[in-house]
């Protein structure tokens, strides 16, 4: 066998070896074996001198070509081997992403707060500034100043929690509506225009059941200025409802009675559950009353020194508790006030 035959045979042997998908370490061994100092290729090159001068160039060229092929095979095999090794490593690092996540879990605001914030944001956009008021109120701010005299049937509309008359003279009570803030703000004698929003807890002395609470949340806005009209009230309410329920929301107005407004109105929204067709959520009416409103009664303005011939105003309010129950689909509002973290979790986590 000639040296050239031996070299070609070595190339065939190398190709067999790299086809067996050696590891990078085994490839190093193959490199030493087939291209190292003691390899057939190196041996063949050493024997060039033994050949006639005219055969040497062709011989050397052929051996070098075979050596280059070997080098290329080894490099290709090395790349393939590295890729196989990488793939094996990554496969070994498999993570079971079917397992639930473990990141920190965010809490959530109460649905009533969520609704209240949305409402206040809409009112802010219309220029109403939030003002807070006390929950322990006097009879004047809760009733008298709001045109609800003693023994007026309107007081029946709001069963009241009266407080500790033994300790203090005069009637103190838990505010039965956030309209008390209107009385307090007007009592400050602010200059016009007055544009205020108020929100918070109110109390009614009622037997509590799944849908009636002794404490719940209300929100209201009022605007007192020169020249305000009933049509302005309607326009502002329309903006409020579109801001809360969307530009295409359907609503209607109807007469209502509130002692502190005249004329008074109620605002109905087409039931968001049945879109007006009638369902249990709207008691078959297709409409849900969401807002009570009206032009501030002249007696209220007069009580606080505003001349009703010069100044007018309007007020509007709604129950954020009820709105929240509609939002999250919890018909029994009491559940929202039971500090039930399971319910709050499920509301927060529901898709």
């Amino acid at each position: 066998m000639t040296p050239l035959d031996e070299t070609r045979e070595a190339l065939a042997a190398l190709e067999d070896a790299v086809n067996a998908q050696p590891s990078l370490g085994e490839l190093d061994e193959l490199r030493r074996k087939f291209l190292g100092k003691t390899s057939v290729v190196k041996g063949a090159l050493k024997r060039v001198r033994e050949l006639p001068a005219d055969e040497r160039p062709a011989f050397a060229a052929e051996v070098n070509r075979i050596a280059a092929v070997m080098e290329e095979r080894l490099q290709t095999a090395a790349v393939a081997s590295a890729e196989r090794a990488r793939a094996a490593r990554l496969n070994a690092e498999w993570a079971d992403l079917s397992l639930p996540g473990t990141g920190p879990r965010r809490g959530a605001r109460h649905p009533v707060t969520v609704v209240e914030r949305r409402c206040l944001a809409v009112l802010r956009n219309l220029g109403f500034t939030l003002v807070d008021g006390p929950e322990v109120e006097d009879e004047f701010h809760n009733f008298d100043a709001l045109n609800i005299p003693k023994h007026h049937p309107a007081r029946d509309m709001q069963d009241t929690f009266w407080l500790d008359s033994k300790r203090v003279a005069g009637g103190l009570l838990l505010r039965s509506h956030t309209t008390t803030v209107q009385a307090r703000v007007l009592g400050e004698g602010r200059s016009l225009p007055i544009k205020v929003a108020s929100a918070g807890r109110v109390y009614r002395n009622e037997a509590v059941d799944a849908t009636h609470l002794a404490m719940f949340h209300q929100l209201e806005g009022f605007w007192v200025d020169r020249g305000l009209r009933f049509s302005d009230l309607k326009g502002v309410l329309a903006e409020v409802v579109r801001g809360l329920y969307g530009a295409d929301s359907r609503f209607r107005f109807k007469p209502k009675f509130y002692p502190y407004t005249e004329p008074s109105l109620g605002m109905d929204l087409a039931c968001t559950t049945c879109e007006g067709a009638g369902c249990p959520a709207c008691h078959g009416a297709g409409w849900v009353t969401i807002i009570g409103a009206g032009m501030v009664h002249r007696n209220v303005l007069t009580t606080f020194g505003y001349d009703p011939e010069e100044v007018s105003g309007f007020a509007f309010g709604w129950g954020t508790t009820r709105m929240a129950s509609q939002l999250v689909g919890v018909a029994k509002v009491k559940a929202l006030y039971d500090q039930d973290l399971r319910l709050l979790h499920s509301i927060h986590r529901s898709a």
Partner: protein
Amino acid sequence: MKIASEHLLRWWTSPGPITRTALAQLLDDVGIEVKRSEEGGTLLSLELLANRGDHRCYLGIARELHGRMGGTLVLPTCDPVVVGAAPVPLSVLSPLCLRYCLTALTLPETPGALDEADLLPVLAAGLSSVSAAVDATNITNLEFGQPTHLFDADTVVGGVTVRESRAGETCRPLFSTRDVSLPVGTLVIADDVKVLAVAGVIGCEESKVTNGTRRALLESATFDPVAVRKASRALGIHTDASARFERGADPSLVEVGAGRVLYLLRSRVGAEVVGETALEGSWVNPQRTLVLDPERVSHTLGRRFPVQEILSRLCRLGFDCWQRGSEVEIEVPPGRTWDIHHVEDLYEELARSVGYNDLPATLPSDTLGVSPTPGQESRERVEEVLLGAGFYEVITNGFYSRELIDPLPVPQGHALRSHVSTENALDRAFSLLKNNTLVQALDTVAQALRYGQQEVRAYEYSRVFLPDPTAPNGLCRERQVLWAVSAGPARAPSWQDKSGAADVWLMRGLVEELAAELRQVFSFRPGPVPEMLVSDLLHPARRAAILHEGQVVGILGEIEPDLVAAYGVKRQRPIYLEINVEVLLISTRSQSATLPPARPPSVRSLAFTLPHRVEAEGVAQSLRTAAAPAGKPRLSRVEVADLFVHEAPDGGLASRTVTYTLNFPQEPTSFSEEQINAAVFELVGVVERRWGAAGVHLRGAI
């Protein structure tokens, strides 16, 4: 109120055909809300406006529809009432009786019955047919809104007097088996020996008509609304008549009411009037007039209202009105004097007669938006921290029961036992206004655990009511607080690892995050916090005051273990936090930042062993405040890096080794390793001199 739509359409003839659905919509539109429609719209349950007593009858509803739509108002037949001599001696002694008419009549031996058509409003209202006499009075009330009453004349002794009740007077109301005491001053109808009726509320058993009654006295009257309301509330008796009178009845209708009862009983069962009808009372038609300026009406309602249209609409609603110059003068009918006082009341009449939805809506020009108040902004930021830490907002009641606070481990006389009480709560759970929020926080934990919720994180912006006679309202101060409670694992349990329990340091970390968010500095003072009401409800060795600029603004700590057990909480150690909301409202400091040093500081660690109850912060403070001579390395930061609790010796208390990380800036002056080491050595000396006597000693240095 429940009405039969068929009967209503007898009173009001629509100008065109009207379906039952359209009728219901029309009623809604004029403010008579249809809450329920039954039997294909033949029966309508109505919710009436609280101020509109006149709506509580077919006539009032029909007039409202007439005002809106026109058509024809058809009044049912009434017999004429001839006013003259009283059938029995009649005295009206109280001005609270506005008008009182009394008619004597005989009833036939065979009682007879009214026509089925007559009874329709009674049956639609859910009432039973009793007898022709009683049914006739019920029909009249439902149709005209004029309550009437029949007395058995043979039970009346002497004359009839309308007066206020005297001390000790009693009566037995209809359907009652016991006498009831009448508050002094209650308006009553009485004969010479007994009370025949509580005026405007209910008749009495002794004088009621029965099938055996042959001689009757028919009362048709109007009473002062407040007097009726007081009597009704005092006796706890609410009737259709009292509901009508409380809202103000129409004094001009008493003869009409009597005439309608007389017509029904005469024409249907053959009753006969005896003599003339007596009419007494203090009422004088006030003939209240109001003047409407059409320009002003048009401006207010946003649509032009010509004079003729105003006249037409108000006339249809029963007002007498006429044009005077450019204005319209209106006389308020007697039945509306209770609710029509001002021109705005007439604006509402006009608006309703047009339809609120048919009036324009405008938007005033001044509707520029405003920014959130500082309080709103602050709360948003505080809540972001709480939410990020996994807390859920809950809402608790403003009050609680005595039973809920009974287990508190504080003696009588402790401020926690002092409450503002509700006087008339229907439910004992609402008997006390809360003076603290810890009890409800603990209740939240207990409830969560009962429901199997192991990880509890809850917070609330709430109010407490602290009795204080010096407060502006003479009763209490309201304090707004932010409270939070945590119990269970510090992190949400997962398949990956099991977290330790939430503890006081987790809550302190929350406060530190709040401080960072608000760019404020809060510090902590371990130990009792007499400034905070709930201090005694926290673990005496695991509580701390939260301070801001030297003032106590809050408290945190573990809830006292026995108290926790008393509320049924087992195997959990809830941590409570309370902060005065006022401190969270302070305007946040302006933001400023310094660039981090280009060269990192040199860092060293020192470990000191501290005996039980020597606070780690005390040693850290000594390190921080140690003076460094000029030109020597100065500490920029000291932090606790590690803590190891040693095993407690027999009968003793465990000591702890606390490792502190010390940072020495290398800017603007850089120091060699040897200089830093020398400075550390100096600091060891500082600590040993200050704390050596307390048992603190160096454990190691790196």
